[in-house]
Every structure is written in C-alpha cells, then in structure tokens.
C-alpha cells in the first residue's frame, strides 16, 4: 500500500529559496493572505475494501405479522448479497428505535455504522403497511423515507422493495432485489430423472415450478419485460426451443429444426431471439423474428458457433466459436458482420454474457485445470477472474451489472452462487433439493 503525498509548490519554495528577512516577511504575508494562498491538499487513493456498515433495525410491529422471515431480516440478507453492505447483527444493537425520535446518533456512530434504517409495520386487514426511514448517521440526516403497503402474502416483496430503495439511495444505482431468478433443478438417479424449471426471488425464496419433465431442460432466458422465458427442452427427445408465458403457463414451440435448437437469447426490444441451429449442417447462430418467424443466419463457418448474446447497445452480437481450434469469444459489430476475437488468454472461453454498460463481457474460462468465470474489459482488453471456485459455469449478470450468479460445484452437488461482478464478495443461495443449474437473472420490472 503506497501512499501518495503531494506537497504544494509554496512549501517547496520555502524550503530551498528563502533568506532570513524574506522569510519573516513571507511568513507575515502568509499569515495575512489567508485563503488566497495555495492550500494543503491531501489525496486519498484508496479506502476500505469491506462493505458499508449499515444498521437495519428490526421493525416495530403492530398487528399480526405473517409467518416467515422478518422484513428487516430479508433486507439484511439482500444488502449482504449485494456485496456492498455489511448489515449489523441485531444482537449488537444498543437500542431498537423505530422512528427518528428514538434515535441517538451517537450510539450508532460508536458502533461504527454509517447508515441506519428504522421502521414500523402495521397490519391493516389483509395488507401490511410499512413506514421506514433511512438516516446518514454522520450527517444525522434522513435521506429516505416512505410509507408503503402490500398484501400480507407479499410481505417478502415489500422487503425487497425497501432493499431496492435503500440501495438506490446510497449507491445511486437501481437495486436488483425485486428481480427473479430462473434455473433448473435436477433430481433422481439413473433413468429416473426429474428436471424442473423454476422461478424464484433473487434470494431463492418463493420458488415456483414452471415446467417439469423427465428430460433435460436448459438455457432459460428471460424476455426483457420479465413476462416470458425461453428455454431448451428435450421433452420430445431432442432439443427444442420453447417460449413460455409465465402468467398463463402458455407455451409455444419456437424452434424445432433438424439438429440443434439451443441457446435462445432475447433481443433488448424483445422482438427477436438469437438461437443456435444446426439445420444447415453445423451449429451456427441465427436470429429469428418472433412475430414472423423469419430466420436470418448470422454466422457462416464450419466451426461451432453458438451462445449468441446481444451486446449492451443491442446492436452487436457476442458468441462462442471454436474456429481457432478451441472455443473463444467473438463479437460482431452488426449481426452478420465480420467477427472479431475478444479472448486470447486461455484455450477455452465460452458462453459470453455482456455487462449492461458495455464495459465488460463475462464468460466461462479455463484456467489450468479449472473452469471459472472471467471477464474481459472491452476497452482495454484486460482479462480478470471473477470466480475462483473451479467448476463454474452459466454466468448470468444482474440487471445493474453489479452482481453475477453462476452455477458451481459444492460438496459434490451443483449450487448457485452470487458474486460481485468485479470478483469480490460471494453469497451462496440456500441449497435447494437436488442440483441447481443454469441460472438466469431476471430483469428489473417497474
């Protein structure tokens, strides 16, 4: 850790140039000049790596509260998962205020906390009303406050909503705590396998099965409006792409060509999908218009071309190709234009997922004998690791690009883990039954 010291010009001069008389007069001048002189400048070039301490006080309750996790507990989990906050354990709180009048900022300062959330929940018939306030402890100022209601059955949604507001108020970026996850669970042995496509909250709770099959399901992909899922199902003994409307359960077969029908990816406007088809003889990336079914072939190479994904601007396409001998990430400026290779550092880089700001692309990366998630800075070409666990795959980014969820092996089974997009904190989703794979992070839906 190197500290950078900047001396102002005046100080340098003083040390090497002055004579006694001039020194005296200069000193007098300096004292007199006050603000006019060059000021001391201290540069802070790094801070603590750890997350911001925030105290989320258990809400005061009046009325019958729903079963399950407390609202404040859900908020604490959300904030922890984000990797940017370090919520104080309630056991360490000196007091449990529920409104400003009960708050003694000094107490929280002493605990080293930066932010304080207090609130109150009131049962109102079949609704739950939450009044909450967020304070900046050092400034002793309120930075957020709201009263909001939700059905009692949606208490978790209420908690995630508050987490979103807190996140946005402090970081300036939208929170992703009200988003959904889609993933596949696998249970069974031998010939009796059970595959389930599920949708849950971002913390894995309130999981709901959307499709159940004896045959594999893979590659779920969210439509930009969060209402549909595209996925590949082997229910007809071959890979077929379906589009599944979540609210109604209605499904539609989108691609059932000879050979592969895989790797569906929605365009940002939701009007077309990229997909991998091998109807022309080998795996190529295609674009299909949803409304018309029109197909356009985007790649034309005898190598495997798959896993097409629109870039953040929605203009170009990333994909995997092994045209150089092993799978690497490529990018087309426009669909169908010449492909530019993005990854070079390893012999295996596949399944690109671009960050929402156009700064990074994330992918599965082989490092020695491990498969991890890595990312390449699209401006500098610099590659860095995001995960180090070792059997990692299926990266999917949160809508604000801050977090990445992926599947990994743990204790012999496949689980989902959330990691900061820059590879910092990790947060493991609670284990579900069986193996959990192929996560897809849903969009923010307002």
């Amino acid at each position: 850790m190197r500290l950078v010291i900047l001396m102002t010009q005046t100080q340098v001069h003083k040390q090497f140039v002055l004579r006694p008389l001039m020194l005296v007069s200069l000193a007098l001048f300096m004292l007199a000049a006050g603000n006019a002189r060059a000021e001391l400048l201290i540069r802070i070039t790094e801070g603590v790596d750890s997350a911001i301490p925030i105290a989320v006080v258990p809400f005061a309750e009046s009325g019958t509260m729903p079963q399950g996790d407390k609202i404040s507990s859900i908020i604490r989990s959300d904030l922890t998962m984000s990797g940017e906050f370090n919520p104080l354990a309630p056991g360490k709180m000196l007091s449990l205020p529920s409104s400003r009048s009960d708050v003694y900022f000094r107490d929280w300062r002493m605990l080293g906390q930066r932010y304080l959330l207090v609130g109150e929940l009131t049962r109102k018939g079949e609704r739950l009303e939450a009044r909450y306030e967020l304070f900046d402890i050092n400034r002793e100022a309120r930075i957020l406050g709201e009263t909001t209601t939700a059905p009692v059955s949606s208490a978790r949604s209420l908690a995630h909503h508050i987490s979103d507001k807190i996140y946005e108020a402090i970081t300036g970026e939208p929170g992703a705590f009200s988003t959904k996850l889609a993933y596949v669970t696998v249970m069974g042995q031998g010939d009796n396998m059970r595959y389930r496509l599920q949708v849950s909250d971002v913390d894995g709770k309130r999981a709901k099965v959307r499709l159940e099959s004896d045959e594999p399901i893979l590659s779920p992909a969210w439509s930009p409006d969060g209402k549909k899922l595209a996925y590949v199902s082997f229910e007809t003994s071959k890979p077929v792409i379906f589009v599944h409307e979540l609210a109604t359960g209605e499904r539609q077969k989108l691609a059932d060509f000879r050979g592969l029908n895989s790797a569906p990816a929605w365009s940002p406007d939701g009007k077309s999908l990229l997909m991998t088809l091998s109807r022309d003889g080998n795996a190529e990336v295609y674009k299909m218009e949803l409304a018309s079914g029109d197909l356009t072939r985007l790649t034309d190479h005898w190598a495997i071309d798959t896993s097409g994904a629109w870039d953040h601007a929605g203009r170009g396409v990333f994909f995997t190709s092994d045209r150089s001998g092993g799978p690497q990430i490529y990018h087309m400026e426009r669909p169908g234009s010449e492909a530019r290779r993005i990854t070079f550092g390893s012999r295996y880089n596949a399944r690109p997922r671009p960050g929402p700001k156009g700064d990074y692309v994330y992918y599965v990366h082989q490092r020695n004998n491990d498969f991890v998630i890595a990312r390449t800075n699209l401006n500098t070409g610099e590659e860095s690791l995001v995960t180090r666990t070792g059997s990692d795959e299926s990266p999917s980014l949160s809508p604000n690009g801050r977090l990445l969820i992926y599947a990994t092996e743990r204790d012999g089974t496949s689980v989902l883990t959330v990691v900061s997009a820059d590879g910092g904190e990790t947060y493991s989703l609670p284990a579900a039954e069986g193996e959990v794979r192929d996560p897809a992070w849903g969009p923010i839906v307002r």
Partner: protein, 343 residues
Amino acid sequence: MTGNERETISTGKAPWKSPVAVSVLLHLLIAIVALAGWSWSEPMQEPEPNSISARLVSPEPEPSPVINEQEQARDREQQKAEAERQQAEAERKQQEEQAREEAERRAQEEARKREEERKRQEAQARERAEQKAREEAARKKAEAEAKERERQRLLEEERRRQEEAKRKAEEERRKAEEEKRRQEEAERQRREEEARKEAERKRLEAERRLREEQLQALADEARQEQEAEQRRQREAAAARAREAQMLSESQKYQSLIRERLTQAWYPPSSATEDMTARLQIALLPTGELASVKLVNSSGNTAFDNSALGAVRALNRYPVPENRDTFERYFRQFTIEFNPQRLR
C-alpha cells in the same frame, strides 16, 4: 476774439453803446459761439455754398463719352460766362459785406477796449487790497514764527541739556562697563587660556585614547560582524528548522489524517479510477470538523456521498499542537478522493 461769425448773428443787429449792453452782447456772442463750437463736430464747413466750384466736389458718375464735343464746347462757353457773371456778383456782394463787417468790427473793437479798461482798473484795485492783506498776513506770520522759534529754541536747549546729562551718565556707565568688561575679558582670557591648555591636554589624551579605541573598535566591529553573521546564520537555520519542523510536523499529521480517512472511506463498488471528489475541510484547533463542503463533484452521487461520509466519520482529526503549524496547514485544506486500484 471771434473767428468766424455766422450770418444769422451778424444780420439784424444794431450796435449799442452802453458798456453793460456791450458786455452782455459780447458775453452772449461768446456763449453762442462756444455753443456753436460745441454742437458741431464737422471740422470744416464750406464758407460759401453758393460757389459752383464747391458743389462739383462731390463724386458723380462719369459722364457718357458719347456726348457731342461741340456741345461740350458750347456748354463750357456758357458755363464760363455764367461763372464770370456769378463771379462779379459775388465780388460785389463780398465788397458790401466787407464794408459792413468793417464797421461792425470797429464798433466791437471800441466796446472791447472800454471793457478792458474797466476790468484793468478793477483788477488794480483788487490787487492793492490783496497786497495789503498779504503784508498783514506776512507780518503776523513773522511774529508767530518768531515766537515759535523761541519756544523751539528753549525746548532745544532743554533737550540738549538732558541729553548732555544722559550722555555723561552714559559715559560713566560705559566706562564702568568697559572696565568691568576689561576685567572680565582678562579673566576670561585667563580662563580660556587655562581651558585651552586643559583642552589641549585632553585632546591629546583623547586622541591617544581615540586611537586606542579605534583600534579596539575595529577589532570589535570585526568581532561583532562575525557574531552578527553567525547569529544571522543561526537564525536562518533556526527558521529553516522551524519551517522544516512545521513542514515535517504538518506532513506527519497529513499522514495521520490520510491514514484515518483511508480507513473510514467506503468507496462504492461502482467507483472508477477517473472519479475524483474534492472536499474543502475546515477544522477547529481541537481537531473537530468545523465544516465540509463539496467543491468538485465526481459526477457520481454515490461516490460523492461516500467521500462526504468518510470525512464526517472522523470524530477528531489529528492536528499538530503547535498553533502556527495548525493555522498554516490545517485550519482549512482540501481533500481529494480518487481511487487507484492496485490490484
């Protein structure tokens, strides 16, 4: 007495013989002439406006050269004859006039003489009277003068006597004074002489001492200069040392502050290396934060807030105890937050 007399005056007048009347007439004449002389400013009037030659003096346009020469000759003849006729007439009139004037003149002359005589006699009488008066006055005057002179003489004498006395007294005094002065002078000279000798002695003494002193002074001066120089250097060194100490002290506290802020800053995960937030800090001598102001935003609210949060998190900033150093560097300064990831 009179030069030119007007015609109007000369006609219609009968000569009177009484001296009063003549005197009045003459006075009247004088008055009128005077008045006549006063009211006109023209220098010269033509004495005889009848004369043809006078009338021709005013400028007239050139006569046309086309006039017949013969006519001109005839005109000239006629003119000449006319002129001659008029000339004769004028002469005749002139002669009459002259006779008249002569008579008048004689009469006037006589009147005048008579007036003169009278006046002369009057004047003589007057003269005599005056003469008498003058003699009388002169006599009186002489008397008065004599008296006055006498009086003056007496005064003069008195004065002189007094003066004399005074002078004598003065003389006496002066003599006495002089005597005294002489004595004093002698005394003084004697003393002076003594003093001079003394002074001489002293001077020599002083000179000797002076020489000694000068030598001493030179030595002293040299020593003092040396000392002054040393003192200057010491002071300069002390000042530099103070300066350096202040600087190093300030650097020490800068380091401390930097350390504390580094430990108090939670840069948001969205922070990039090109984000810079500048805050102006004002501290109290106790190290407490007096005020903080964001003077340059990084453009990212979360980043700015993290910087503000870090600054506010410190209860007390480590500041030097030396008040000068504090005032110089830490009363008000700037902190810049700009993450440099060294990963």
